[in-house]
């Protein structure tokens, strides 16, 4: 299904997700972990937007707060025209079938004491969709769609492999005919030979059911394969967002460049050549409870000195503005 640039399915505006740090017996708040620190982006209908970043960058927190699994501290989440942050209780429950999630660890996201049928049926039971018999028929339909046999219905999660468990999770996410699915590292816990099976399945389903995905991953090779556009996150901020081919061919932000250069390629000759161009970052990631005053990447950025010399800007002190530098290509860096 082609991406319709005029149809925005989801708009995230100035999203902040802060987790409080508490101390003492009365849990007095002493600070915040700024997991997501003022990000904005749109997702178009039919698109697969990838969010990449390393651990602690805020990508999972972004996914969860969009689905209202964790309330945003600030910001708007406009889904199909409605601001999800302003809807509560029964009203929110009624829209929930429209957006669903596929989790990272297939084993811990399935109830071990329920059969596959009960697990996949649960969303239908909760939202009281039609009746018992049709619900079972729907389960069969879903299992078929994800490539599992009907005999799976009576079995328990532990009887299946990681890849099969993830398919059960996908079947459950599809049960209510959502238009939007957040895939939170859906293949990271799987072996390489099984990852490709699940990635192919996700792509087929997107095509046949007209789904829109937010695909969260730390694996840039996987994201490149499945996403149309990609956002790179670092310490709670989006540092760059671009079309898939544009990002990998023309990365602009120094962090994106370092990230891309660090991905090991399964080709010894290529790797040997690349050693000469490898960008090895010095230093560690700052704490999200105490991010730098200026650019979040200033503690490790290889371009800091060049920016100071050529532009007279101190990256430690001045935060760069997030702006569009070429068509659909946004970044936040003093270099631009």
């Amino acid at each position: 299904m082609p991406i319709d640039p005029n149809k925005i399915l989801l708009s995230v505006n100035n999203l902040k997700v802060y987790y409080p740090i508490t101390k003492g017996l009365f849990l007095k708040k002493t600070g915040d972990i700024k997991a997501v620190d003022d990000i904005s982006f749109d997702i178009f209908k039919g698109e697969n937007l990838g969010i990449v970043g390393e651990s602690g960058c805020g990508k999972s927190s972004t996914g969860r707060s969009i689905l209202q699994l964790y309330p945003p501290t600030e910001g708007e989440i406009i889904f199909e025209g409605q601001d999800l942050t302003k809807i509560k209780g029964e009203k929110l429950r009624k829209i929930r079938p429209r957006f669903q999630m596929i989790f990272q660890d297939p084993y811990s996201s399935l109830d071990p004491r329920k059969t596959v049928c009960e697990i996949v049926r649960e969303p239908l039971d909760v939202h009281k969709i039609s009746d018992g018999k049709s619900r079972n028929e729907r389960v069969k339909e879903l299992l078929n769609a994800v490539g599992l046999e009907i005999s799976s219905m009576k079995r328990y999660p532990h009887e299946f492999s990681g890849g099969q468990q993830q398919r059960i999770g996908i079947a459950k996410a599809l049960a209510l005919n959502p238009s939007f699915i957040v895939c939170d590292e859906p293949v990271s816990a799987l072996d390489v030979s099984v990852q490709s099976q699940v990635i192919n399945l996700l792509m087929e389903l997107k095509q046949s059911l007209g789904l829109t995905y937010l695909f969260i991953s730390h694996d840039l090779s996987v994201v490149r394969h499945i996403s149309d556009r990609i956002a790179v996150m670092y310490l709670g901020k989006i540092v760059e967002i671009a079309d898939r081919s544009e990002l990998y061919k023309n990365p602009k932000h120094p962090y994106t460049k370092a990230l891309l250069s660090a991905i090991p390629i399964p080709d010894p000759i290529f790797e040997n050549e690349r050693k000469k161009k490898l960008i090895i970052l010095q230093g560690d990631v700052p704490s999200p409870s105490n991010p730098p005053k200026g650019c979040n990447f200033c503690t490790r950025c290889p371009q800091k000195e060049i920016i100071r010399r050529e532009k007279g800007i101190d990256c430690d002190e001045v935060e760069p503005v997030y702006k569009e530098i070429s068509a659909q290509h946004w970044t936040a860096c003093h270099l631009f």
């Binding site: 390489v192 099984v194 990852q195 090779s221 394969h225 370092a258 991905i263 399964p266 560690d284 990631v285």
Partner: protein, 323 residues
């Protein structure tokens, strides 16, 4: 060049309530001085169990090394008693593990954890050991080390913890370093730093490395020779360039094809190996890869294939000549 480590006919089984798990089946391999060998395989391939057997780290029961000889510098490690093997661990053969948060002692300062092995194996006193510990931390990129040496593991980041593990691992200048997925739990940019650190140290002290990983990208850039393991056996062994250029075993071929590559044009659909990872309890009579193999023939069901040579230094276990 003589062999530093020679593993012969190693078999390890786990005796569990559900049955006997054939974790490692009759494997043979060796390592030379200053060589880096990568062991590649997925969950259940037996790669971790295999290397942990080298320094007798398998929990027994339920695990048991049922057969084999592990020759290290002229000594059969499997014949050593617990005190003798303790003298070797951390000293001549060192191991670093996957998740540094669960392998570092949370109640000891990082300096003390390094000093512990220096005192025991190299018989250093507190002052000498502390100085050496600071040097080691600096070597791994923790700087300024004299201000970090008294930190606790929870006060430092994942990348730094792994560096502490590396410092502990090389403290006594081991002849062999076993790195079991040392960078899997780390972010890509930190992974690049850590691999760099390990390689620099290897050059400095001339140690051999066994590098275990499921990541073929890491293997391509960091090792001399590769062993591919599947369901407890080595299915292919070759120098790294040869393996990637000319994979012969259907599992290796499938594995290489199913990785999404950032440097290549996008295929419409990713290649995937059909079927599921092996069941190690009900071990099949023939080749363990049969049910997932696109090239199998009848013979594959009867008896597991033996090694044949593709060319110098390149062995693989398959009846079929896939090219």
């Amino acid at each position: 060049m003589t062999k530093l480590l020679d593993v012969k006919d190693l078999s390890v089984k786990f005796f569990t309530r559900e049955g006997i798990v054939n974790a490692v089946n009759n494997i043979n391999f060796s390592i030379k001085k200053s060589e880096t060998v990568g062991i590649v395989g997925e969950s259940g391939s037996g790669k971790s169990v295999c290397v942990m057997s080298i320094i007798q780290l398998i929990n027994s029961p339920p695990g048991k090394i049922v057969n084999g000889k592990i020759n290290f510098n002229g000594v059969d490690l499997l014949k050593l008693n617990i005190n003798q093997i303790r003298n070797i661990r951390g000293n001549l053969i060192s191991m670093i593990f996957q998740d540094p948060m669960s392998t570092l002692n949370p109640v000891l300062k990082i300096g003390d954890q390094i000093i512990e092995s220096l005192k025991k194996h190299l018989k250093m006193d507190e002052i000498q050991a502390r100085k050496r510990a600071i040097d080691l931390l600096e070597m791994t990129g923790i700087s300024p080390a004299k201000y970090r040496i008294d930190d606790y593991p929870h006060q430092i980041s994942g990348g730094m913890r792994q560096r502490v593990m590396i410092a502990m691992g090389i403290a006594c200048n081991p002849k062999l370093l076993i790195a079991d997925e040392p960078t899997t739990a780390l972010d890509v940019t930190i992974q690049a730093q850590i691999i760099n650190v390990i390689k620099n140290i290897q050059e400095l002290i001339g140690m051999s490395i066994i590098w275990i990983t499921h990541d073929l990208g890491v293997v391509a850039g960091s090792v001399d020779r590769v062993l591919v393991m599947y369901a407890g056996s080595i299915v292919e062994e070759a120098p790294v360039k040869e393996l990637f250029k000319n994979p012969r075993h259907p599992y290796t071929i499938g594995l290489l094809q199913s990785i999404p590559r950032i440097d290549q044009k996008l295929p419409k659909k990713l290649f995937s190996i059909k079927g599921l990872p092996p069941n190690l309890i009900n071990y099949p009579k023939g080749c363990s890869f049969y049910s997932r193999c696109d090239y199998h023939i009848n013979k594959c069901l009867e008896k597991p294939p033996e090694f044949k040579t593709a060319n110098t230094n390149h062995k693989f276990a398959c009846y079929v000549n896939v090219s």
